[in-house]
Symmetry: none
Amino acid sequence: MPTPVQPRAERMRAQLRDEIVQAAAEVFAERGYHRTAIADIAGRIGVGNSSIYAQFAGKRALFDAVIDDAMRGVMALLSADNAPATADTLEAYEGQVRRIATGFATALGEDPTVLRLLRTLLVESDGVDEELADRAAAFTDAAAQMTSAYLRHGVTRGYLRADLDVDATGRVVNAMVFAVALDLARQGATPEEAERTVDATLALFFTGVRG
Amino acid sequence: MPTPVQPRAERMRAQLRDEIVQAAAEVFAERGYHRTAIADIAGRIGVGNSSIYAQFAGKRALFDAVIDDAMRGVMALLSADNAPATADTLEAYEGQVRRIATGFATALGEDPTVLRLLRTLLVESDGVDEELADRAAAFTDAAAQMTSAYLRHGVTRGYLRADLDVDATGRVVNAMVFAVALDLARQGATPEEAERTVDATLALFFTGVRG
Amino acid sequence: MPTPVQPRAERMRAQLRDEIVQAAAEVFAERGYHRTAIADIAGRIGVGNSSIYAQFAGKRALFDAVIDDAMRGVMALLSADNAPATADTLEAYEGQVRRIATGFATALGEDPTVLRLLRTLLVESDGVDEELADRAAAFTDAAAQMTSAYLRHGVTRGYLRADLDVDATGRVVNAMVFAVALDLARQGATPEEAERTVDATLALFFTGVRG
Amino acid sequence: MPTPVQPRAERMRAQLRDEIVQAAAEVFAERGYHRTAIADIAGRIGVGNSSIYAQFAGKRALFDAVIDDAMRGVMALLSADNAPATADTLEAYEGQVRRIATGFATALGEDPTVLRLLRTLLVESDGVDEELADRAAAFTDAAAQMTSAYLRHGVTRGYLRADLDVDATGRVVNAMVFAVALDLARQGATPEEAERTVDATLALFFTGVRG
DNA sequence: GATGAATGAGTGTTCATTCAT
DNA sequence: GATGAATGAACACTCATTCAT
């Protein structure tokens, strides 16, 4: 029964790191990047400031880690068990989109932090760093291209308009989805409002892209 | 021939105020709220810091004034000589919307500052103040309600889908329009890209809302 | 009677700058570079920390300014109204050297700060910066070359040993002079001790270099 | 056959202590006192920070130990198998001094650490502690007195100037020697430069003190 | 009325030292 | 006995705001 070397210390270190990222996510989401002080984050989990610096190179690096987590979460919601090349009919595609939208809405209801973080990233990146602004741009671009891939598949299969500008429409749809999500995340929207907004979005989207 | 009291002083004062707002708009648009220092603004027009404090209560109040101007500009572009109750046919409505979109695109090309400011407002408001976040929300709400009014008129006139959820759709369309505008404003998009994006947006919108 | 533009403000600014440099010189001389906090300097003249940053880019820049002053002072003592090519006999040279040494000793007695600063520079430069270490080295090199010039003149005139290695001896003499000065500056040496030390140094030096 | 208590543990402890002092000497010599972090030293020999605190009361105490070692080394070089009362003629004395100087130069070439440490002590002591400054002063005093003892012996024996101020000259010569050594230690001086400098120093010294 | 020099509170970051494991 | 994770005090620097001139 070989005991791994320093199993406890490592586990505790990783655990503290997670706690820090979690606390940082909350505070950054609540107050934004600039108004968040390292001491706020450290204080929330009852550790000293320097315990954060033992794990992260600085405030910016911590924010990066937080954003990484949030992006992973959003990407997971976006892709889930769905893939661009899955749907073969408009109905199947609509089901797919509804599932993704429902996943979003559910995640939104259960843990608004990830969406508030997304908001913080997309909204404050300019005010922080050129590099962060680039990351935010790269993220939206990636999401837009994923959307475009879905659309392209639909055009190929014939259940979406043949003359659809898939690249431009992918960007537009993506922007719309993010904007709606951010708007809903802004303040506790009631589930009914969310439902109506999602319905309206899907109606706009589907009737629009139908071939 | 009534002479206003202190006419010259007042005019100079008002002129300085305009200069300050103009310079502040530029710097805030370039660098965002947090990275802008009062000294940057004062330096740009060659006055002392305290000349700004003689006219505005503080950085926040100055930003408010700048945002007021920008909002007025955007609202003017949105309403122009158009009004919700003007169009009576789908074609007329489409013409109206295209005119507004063209106005936006032209303004974007000629003076990106107002849109960059809008971006700053919508994107950084969270990181500044609860109150500013509320103002940003109020602004988007007002714009959404204006859009909803257009849609309601179309439904009443019968050239838009009868079952359209005008409130929810107004919000969605509004979010989409802002998101697209902000995305285009992000970095010098070429006119062709802008054109394609606007076309895609309108195509999505119109085919979608048609009754 | 034209009044210069902003004469008072400029004079006050320059005056404050001098006060800061003076206070910084004292504190740096007392406590060395690392143990001196900006607040110590600001506190000594009763101004806020940021008043220092209004005039100097940072702690390092302030130290540079202090060192500049000290170097100027030392160089003035070293050159004074004497020049390498002045003395034509051993007696004249000895008189010249005694005058310089006396100037040093007097300055040492009246204001030990400049020598303590010299000590700080020569002693702490390594612990601060590569660049500062280079400055210190450049300073000692310059002083050594000045000494070598004196020696070379004496060899040419024939009142110093013909086989004198003027470059190496210049470095050695220079090092000896600095070391003695620093040693005397270390703690309030009595005038008698200083006198004896200077005499011993000159005796060593002159009997040694005589041709 | 008495077995010492915990012989292995003690030996290991002593060995670790030596390793620490050795590593500390290297790092202090390379980076000076202030720029050296305890973690640097611990990291160099792959132990935890607290292993150092188990053996030394703190950074200052460790530096003391390092300096003790270095001083012992320098003192050994200075005295070697020579003693103040050994030489009876000027030629014998000159040989003695040359041997010491050669020993220094050789040690300098082979292991610059001890001289760099000496430099660190003499140069940074002010910036650390009053007490350390005192130690440095005590060290230079001791060395100066040793030099004075040599000189006094020479005067007694009659091969040095009868009117030599042995105390003051001892301090001066000592300062010169240290200054030259430190200057040579500053950066890799070539052996030729070192040779010329040593020659010049000895020439200055001997022709100077000859009776 | 306008100026700009001065302020001082606030922040990110470092590092010698301690202590639970 | 050794570890290294955690601490918290200290410090350089920024900038919105004020006030003497």
